[in-house]
Amino acid sequence: AQSVTQLDSHVSVSEGTPVLLRCNYSSSYSPSLFWYVQHPNKGLQLLLKYTSAATLVKGINGFEAEFKKSETSFHLTKPSAHMSDAAEYFCVVREAAGNKLTFGGGTRVLVKP
C-alpha cells in the first residue's frame, strides 16, 4: 500500500525567505508524485508533478521539487516566499495500479511580512 507523510503540519516563513516543505512517500512501484496547493475555501491547484522523467521538477509560481528515490522523498522548495504563498500544501502519490490519489496530511504555510 502506498502512503505519504508530510513531516511538518505548519511552516512559518518571512516574506522573501526560502520555503521548504518536506514529504516522504511509500510506494511499491515507481511512483507518480504531485504537489497541490489549496487556498482557503478553494479547491486544489496542481503545482507540479513527477512522472519518472527529470528528478528536479519545476512547477508554477516559482516552486520546484526534487525526487530522491534513495531517500523516498519529494520535498518542495521556493527560493523566495511571497505573501500569496500562504495556503495549505499537499504532497500526493498516485497508485500505480489505478488512478487513486493518496494525499498527505498537508502543511499549512504562514508568510510573515
Partner: protein, 114 residues
C-alpha cells in the same frame, strides 16, 4: 475554457437525511473522481467513474454511491447521513486518453450535518 464546476457550494442537512452533490468535469475530460476532505485533513478518495461505471473505490461504506451521465457529469449520493459525513467534498476530472493525469479539482461542496 470552464474548469471543474460543483454544485451546490454549501449544504446543510440533518442526520439520517440523504444528499446529492453534482459535478461537471473540465471540457475535454471524461473521468470524474470524488474525494472527501474532513476539516484539517487531506482529501480521501471515495470513487472514480468513467464510461458511466464505477471503476475504483476507496474505503467508504455503501451509503456513498455515485453516477456518471453520458455527458460525463457526475453525482455523489450519500444516504443516512451521519455527523461524521460533515466535510468538503471535492470532485476531480481527468482524461482517460491522457492516462487520467493530472486531475483537475473543483472548489468543492461543503456539507454540514446537524
Amino acid at each position: 475554457d470552464a474548469g471543474v464546476t460543483q454544485s451546490p457550494t454549501h449544504l446543510i442537512k440533518t442526520r439520517g437525511q440523504q444528499v446529492t452533490l453534482r459535478c461537471s468535469p473540465k471540457s475535454g475530460h471524461d473521468t470524474v473522481s470524488w474525494y472527501q476532505q474532513a476539516l484539517g485533513q487531506g482529501p480521501q478518495f471515495i470513487f472514480q467513474y468513467y464510461e458511466e461505471e464505477e471503476r475504483q473505490r476507496g474505503n467508504f461504506p455503501d451509503r456513498f454511491s455515485g453516477h456518471q451521465f453520458p455527458n460525463y457529469s457526475s453525482e455523489l449520493n450519500v444516504n443516512a447521513l451521519l455527523l461524521g459525513d460533515s466535510a468538503l467534498y471535492l470532485c476531480a476530472s481527468s482524461s482517460r486518453d491522457r492516462g487520467f493525469q493530472p486531475q483537475h479539482f473543483g472548489d468543492g461542496t461543503r456539507l454540514s450535518i446537524l
